[in-house]
């Protein structure tokens, strides 16, 4: 018998085409925003490079150059063109990976960046793993035990996480865990006498040491990694736990959770098997955003721990007025940061339940 309600249910196959169209539109919008933001970023770095009080011509010809040589260099650098043309030249160079030469290392900035990026990648990735492994369960427990002591403890730990300066925590960490307790190694990625003993394949110390089968170096690298990654991981954990808690509180007040209990699920079964799957999509974007901010937070942590990554590279370039290196590093960090942010935005919109029907 045909009932009114049978007709209104639409089988998923009919919706397929429309959903693909919407998804494509969203991806196109994402790429457009990415392009615009990238242009914005390079415009800012270009602007900054023009702000500098250092005369770029003198940097090339030296201050004893003749006026003719100066004028020649001035023209060669394109400084006599309009600002817009200069920007476009700059943009073209950036897109082809030409960030100029580093004053400090006398290498092309691009090769410097390639050299230092894996260290930052290793640090941030390790930190995000810690952040997720600790933060997600903490957030779930805090939401499930809302108002009780577990919730308060977790919220306080999280609150400390947004309030404490990362460089200070790093110093205290070194002082306590290295200086006083000797539980971890000190600054740097490896003890000095291991330098150069690992074949650099990926640039990720743990991976390279494992590929070499060199477990002594592996464990040394690990003991150097654990403290800075742990500290960064704590910040990540604070943010992830807070967002997870917020999402879970919303879900736990929903009727379907009670329905799960009625079916015979225990409280924790209802929490993890029913409520938690509902927050996975927004949670993934939260994790992505946290990862992006970790790449930034690494700047200060690397300074404290003498970790030879992108952050340290930028700050050292800063102290040596190496503008090319600073700006090259900024563009790289900025691009990755923007990329992850926008990707998270896109992922969220792609998997947004409102997209269904």
């Amino acid at each position: 018998m045909t009932t009114a309600d049978d007709i209104t249910a639409r089988p998923p196959r009919q919706l397929g085409g429309r959903r693909v169209a919407i998804a494509l539109r969203r991806i196109a919008s994402f790429l457009a925003t990415l392009a615009v933001t990238f242009i914005g970023l390079t415009a800012v770095t270009f602007f900054i490079s023009r702000l500098t009080k250092i005369d770029p011509v003198l940097a090339v010809v030296g201050d004893k150059a003749t006026k003719a040589a100066y004028d020649q260099a001035y023209h060669a650098l394109g400084l006599d063109q309009s600002l817009v043309i200069q920007y476009l030249i700059y943009l073209k160079r950036v897109l082809s990976g030409d960030f100029g030469m580093s004053v400090l290392t006398s290498q092309p900035v691009l090769s410097d960046l390639i050299r230092v990026f894996p260290a930052t990648f290793e640090l941030s990735t390790f930190a995000i793993i810690i952040g997720v492994a600790l933060g997600v369960p903490a957030g779930v427990v805090a939401a499930a035990r809302k108002g009780r002591w577990q919730d308060h403890v977790i919220r306080v730990l999280g609150l400390f996480g947004y309030s404490v300066p990362v460089f200070w925590l790093g110093l205290i960490g070194l002082f306590v865990f290295y200086g006083k307790l000797g539980w971890t190694a000190g600054t740097g990625r490896l003890d000095v006498f291991y330098d150069g003993e690992v074949t650099v394949r990926t640039g990720i110390m743990l991976v390279d040491a494992a590929l070499d089968g060199n477990w002594e170096i592996f464990s040394n690298a690990f003991s150097h990694l654990i403290l800075p990654a742990g500290i960064l991981g704590y910040f990540s954990m604070a943010y992830i736990a807070r967002m997870t808690r917020s999402f879970m509180i919303d879900q736990l007040s929903q009727e379907y959770v009670i329905a799960a209990r009625i079916k015979g699920n225990s409280f924790w079964q209802a929490v993890w098997r029913h409520a938690f799957p509902n927050i996975m999509v927004p949670l993934i974007t939260v994790i992505g955003l946290s990862y992006a901010s970790l790449l930034e937070g690494a700047v200060l942590t690397e300074t404290v721990f003498a970790w030879p990554g992108l952050g340290l590279y930028i700050t050292q370039a800063l102290f040596n007025s190496d503008m090319n290196a600073v700006l090259g590093g900024t563009v790289l960090v900025g691009t990755v940061f923007i990329g992850i942010n926008l990707l998270c935005d896109l992922l969220y919109k792609l998997f947004d339940p409102r997209l269904r029907t």
């Binding site: 933001t37 970023l41 770095t45 009080k53 400390f160 200070w168 002082f175 900025g334 926008l342």
Partner: protein, 301 residues
């Protein structure tokens, strides 16, 4: 007895003048804030910060933040120097107290720049709609996606270190969320009847924006600002740590932590005390922000 009548006048449900209504609102909000434990704790900390900054000279127990004493450098906390001395023999207590001034300055300047810009962009965007809205929101999106610290570093690299440049750099990456908030608040009320009534009365766009819409956005913006303060303080301290904030010999907490870095293992207090100050102040703003959000917008968790 006049207190009760004043109190009654403030909470009266039928205010007879505009001033009474506004003051009554302020009073009610103030009471709610003080009643909320998180907000109150935060308020106490922030108040202490302000007092520290203002009364630093008197609270320093007679020590100057600038006087060097190389013979007595890196001294442990003692009766004379409550927090010990730093690597140039300067009293850490005094420097910590005076350091509050640098922090407050940066925070205040950033706030003063960021809020008007955010409100202006957001309200105009929300009210005008159309291509103005789209363009402004695109610009906001672009700035929103920038990494704050790294961009600040780049600015400082170009312009040189100093408080003004730090403020500019931080402000540049901090204003977008305020534009967003202002815009969403504006969108909610842009087509409501009382705005339409003002239009019919002949109010100009500027008047509507400034006198009608902006006041309604203020509470959300203030909550967000307070919550952001902690982050701004941390970023400023980070810049100071790298030597890009207030320049020596002006005391600044981040810079103090940095100078204590080399001696952390033996003279831990040089780096620890200023770091603790940053932590407590940041914590205070977070508590205040959380509390304010509970009071003004309890729907968000």
């Amino acid at each position: 007895m006049s207190d009760t009548t004043l109190g009654q006048w403030l909470v009266s449900e039928a205010p007879t003048s505009r001033r009474q209504a506004v003051l009554g609102n302020v009073y009610r909000n103030a009471r709610a804030i003080v009643r909320n434990p998180t907000a109150f704790a935060g308020l106490v900390v922030v108040a202490l910060l302000i007092l520290m900054a203002i009364f630093a000279p008197w609270l320093s127990m007679g020590q100057s933040p600038l006087t060097q004493d190389l013979a007595g450098r890196l001294g442990a906390p003692s009766a004379v120097h409550w927090f010990g001395t730093d690597e140039l023999g300067r009293d850490i207590l005094a420097r910590t107290l005076f350091g509050a001034r640098a922090t407050l300055t940066i925070v205040a300047l950033v706030a003063v720049i960021v809020v008007p810009i955010g409100l202006a962009v957001g309200t105009v965007s929300g009210y005008m709609g159309g291509w103005v809205d789209r363009v402004l929101m695109r610009i906001t999106d672009v700035f929103m996606a920038f990494p704050r610290l790294v961009l600040a570093l780049a600015f400082a690299a170009a312009l040189g270190p100093g408080i003004e440049n730090a403020v500019i750099a931080i402000a540049l990456t901090t204003w977008p969320p305020y534009a967003r908030i202002a815009r969403s608040e504006t969108l909610a009320i842009a087509h409501s009847d009382f705005i339409q009534a003002a239009v019919l009365q002949g109010a100009s766009t500027w008047r509507i924006l400034f006198r009608h819409i902006v006041p309604l956005c203020l509470s959300s913006v203030i909550v967000r600002l307070t919550l952001d303060m902690a982050g701004i303080i941390l970023t400023a301290a980070g810049l100071g740590f790298l030597g890009l904030g207030a320049q020596p010999p002006t005391p600044e907490w981040g810079a103090m932590v940095s100078s204590g870095r080399d001696v952390i293992l033996d003279q831990w207090w040089v780096a620890t005390i200023p770091g603790l100050a940053i932590f407590i102040v940041s914590l205070g703003f977070n508590l205040l922000g959380d509390g304010l959000r509970d009071v003004f917008d309890p729907k968000s968790a």
